[in-house]
């Protein structure tokens, strides 16, 4: 006989868990007691949202299933944003939450929340364990469901009495769930149709998303592109699935994508989506998206197909598997005309910013990070302008080296995700590129990096604004900066505080970093950027570099929401 907690520990061990992120409380005291001498690392976070994002960042960087552990009620509700973030980007993680004893469920007991009810829409699946006999099976199923098919977060809610109950049940050796059989092998006929379409196409384009990275198919994407000479554009989450230094790389497409990628999408005659889901930030106006092209879509998720854009050649299956079958069927081609056209677009329209004078431009900082890390770091971002610049001005050549909250767009994701990524990849340089707004969400987790001497580098592009929102206000709301000024100046009347001076640093991120025990540095001028970054990158432990960048720099190109990809705004002038 074993207790529920012993079953849980055994299940976690058999699932290959190496590190758990979390924070204890009343309903998980037994689990934490069991963890005390468990064979895996436990990382005490300072907020449960941080725990969920760390598990997420760990999963994105390693491809393994991340794991977090929290208490009932507020512990569980604090993970909701983290679960939603992972759910939107199809990231495998398992969240274990405590629950009040079974007999008290539904009585508004202390720290009770309907956790399975609350998390249902943000998880791939969830469980409320009612009986210790079911626990070993459920833990095995949870990891299996999280990591297979289209990956996603799974939550297991374990009442306190179930943790303590004893059972004869054992962790099963294999899992079989009759309602869950993800299709992995693409239909051979569909793959043959796709090959034929590629062979016939004059102007094909690969449009690669996070699915290619989830399937570990970057190598196959690269083989396909190079063999058939097909140019490649990626989504934000697809960055790194194809080396951006390759001449076939068009960089990211969509709202803040490259001119070339958006032109190519408009002009291509065959668009092959590989694990990308036609997100509205990518397509712009649906009716005009790739309107001259036949559309093929390879995806493990049948519901992703024809969801917003009608697909001519659907292939449901694991991207890696499908590409392996596809590659031998495609012919080597030169496509001279198409590629020449693309080179011309590329030459005329690189990502560009104000090079004039001595301004500290945010894009410059990213370029220096690229140069100093030789393109070999794991870049993690928060959400906002800095996120888009990180996508535009750093060239990604390896999968799992760009980590960002794409679908949910969660500010506060980056710092904890960077810590998680660094736990998963101890030998790598991990840089969290942050904004002054996002940095104030979940900064507390820096303590975790300091404690564990996890040497993440946080580079804050401080523009004094919730910049991305300010940019929209500048462009579409007559420059009325309502609630986007992080300083006092520029604020609307209803936000001004009487006699409040406009302090240069609020908060002072350098002091804040120091207060957390990390190295804190500030670059106020363009000339100071490289020395400060170098100092931070050479430091043994975690470091924060605050760069006082040009306040009103904008992200270009920009396709206004709902406009066609051909309607890119290139500057405000």
């Amino acid at each position: 006989m074993r207790t529920g907690v012993e079953c849980l520990m055994d299940g976690l061990k058999k699932a290959g868990v190496q590190v758990i992120f979390g924070l204890p409380g009343g309903s998980v005291l037994d689990i934490f007691n069991g963890l005390y001498d468990a064979p895996f690392k436990f990382v005490l976070t300072r907020h449960e949202q941080g725990a969920a994002h760390m598990a997420d960042g760990y999963a994105r960087a390693t491809g393994r299933v991340g794991c977090c552990l929290v208490t009932s009620g507020p512990g569980a509700t604090n993970t909701v944003t983290g679960l939603g973030t992972a759910y939107m980007d199809s990231i495998p993680l398992v969240c274990i939450s405590g629950q009040v004893p079974t007999h008290m469920i539904g009585n508004d007991a202390f720290q009770e929340a309907d956790t399975t009810g609350i998390t249902r829409p943000v998880t791939k699946h969830n469980y409320l364990v009612r009986n210790a006999d079911d626990l070993p099976r459920i833990i095995a199923e949870a990891f299996y469901i999280a990591g297979t098919g289209k990956p996603g977060p799974v939550l297991v809610d374990i009442p306190k009495d179930v943790q303590r109950a004893s059972t004869k049940a054992h962790t099963p050796d294999s899992v079989s769930i009759r309602g869950y059989n993800p299709t992995t092998e693409g239909h051979p006929k569909q793959i043959a149709r796709l090959a034929e379409a590629i062979n016939k196409a004059k102007k094909p384009l690969l449009y690669v998303g996070g699915g290619a990275i989830a399937a570990n198919a970057a190598e196959e994407v690269t083989q396909l592109a190079r063999k058939a000479k097909i140019p490649v554009t990626t989504t934000l989450l697809g960055l790194g699935a194809f080396p951006e230094t390759d001449s076939l790389a068009l960089r990211m497409l969509g709202m803040h994508g490259s001119v070339t990628a958006n032109y190519a999408t408009h002009h291509c005659d065959l668009l092959v989506s590989i694990g990308a889901r036609f997100d509205d930030r990518v397509t712009g106006k649906i009716a005009e998206f790739a309107s001259h092209a036949k559309i093929a879509h390879i995806d493990i998720d049948p519901t992703a197909i024809s969801k917003s854009v009608p697909v001519d050649i659907p292939v449901v299956g694991d991207v890696k598997h499908v590409l392996k079958v596809l590659i031998p069927l495609v012919e080597s081609k030169e496509r001279t005309e198409w590629l020449a056209q693309i080179q011309e677009w590329k030459q005329k329209n690189p990502f560009a910013y104000d090079q004039n004078g001595s301004k500290l431009m945010p894009q410059y900082v990213i370029e220096q990070i690229y140069a100093l890390t030789k393109g070999d770091a794991i870049i993690v971002t928060e959400v906002g302008q800095h996120q888009m610049w990180s996508a535009q001005y750093y060239k990604y050549t390896q999968p799992r080296t760009f980590i960002s909250s794409g679908g949910l767009g969660t500010m506060g994701f980056g710092l904890p995700a960077a810590i998680g990524a660094q736990f998963g990849c101890p030998g790598k340089m991990v840089v969290d590129i942050s904004g002054d707004g996002s940095a104030q969400m979940n900064f507390q987790e820096l303590v975790v990096a300091v404690e564990h001497q996890v040497p993440i580098k946080v580079v804050i592009l401080n523009n004094g604004y919730l910049g991305m929102v300010r940019q929209w206000q500048e462009m579409f709301y007559k420059k009325q900066y309502s609630a986007t000024c992080l300083g006092q100046s520029g604020r609307g009347k209803n936000e001004k505080i009487k006699d409040c001076p406009d302090r240069p640093y609020l908060p002072d991120f350098v002091k804040l970093a120091e207060a957390h025990g990390a190295l804190g540095l500030r670059a106020k001028t363009r000339a100071a950027v490289v020395p400060m970054l170098t100092k931070a990158f050479e430091a043994d432990g975690p470091a924060v570099v605050e760069c006082m960048v040009e306040p009103e720099a904008n992200v270009y190109p920009m396709v206004p929401a709902g406009a066609s990809l051909m309607e890119m705004i290139q500057s405000m002038a």
Partner: protein, 159 residues
């Protein structure tokens, strides 16, 4: 168009909430809903009628299929099927109109299942249209209460 969606699911707590959440989360109304275990008590059959355009319902059907606890989903409106629902109507009935009601019920092959002093309960089985029709005709007598099961349906495909 109205769709009849029939699904085989795990007979477990939470499954119905998941199914309904997927539909109501999109702002769709479920017109009728019926759940009961099948011949295998570990599975239940859920039958729902949902109005909505074909493209949306196709998407919903695919997404229902993706739920871990859902074993199979059929949109019966795409094939031949037999559908029925059962209604029980409590209607005002005195010595004056009782025989008229019995006559009306007979026309619809409905059955009176309880006769009291001032009311009777009639049970009617038929398609939704037939049940609607019957209720319409009975209305002038004064309906006290109606309880309907909602549609259940079986596809005609053999095997």
């Amino acid at each position: 168009m109205k769709h009849i969606i029939s699904m085989l699911v795990e007979n477990r707590p939470g499954v119905l909430a998941r199914v309904i959440g997927l539909i109501s989360g999109r702002g769709y109304n479920i017109d009728s809903l019926n759940v009961a275990p099948t011949q295998d008590i570990t599975t239940s059959r859920i039958t729902m009628t949902v109005p909505g355009d074909d493209h949306v319902l196709e998407q919903v059907t695919k997404q229902l299929n993706k739920l871990v606890d859902v074993i199979k989903v059929f949109d019966l409106t795409k094939e031949k099927y037999i559908d029925r629902e059962l209604a029980m109507v409590k209607v005002c009935a005195s010595t004056k109109n009782r025989s008229a009601l019995i006559e009306l019920a007979a026309l619809f092959r409905a059955e009176n299942v309880s006769v009291q002093n001032k009311a009777m309960i009639i049970q009617m089985v038929g398609t939704t249209d037939a049940v609607d029709n019957f209720l319409e005709l009975i209305k002038p007598h004064g309906i006290v209460e109606v309880s309907r099961t909602g549609v259940i349906a079986v596809g005609k495909a053999e095997g």
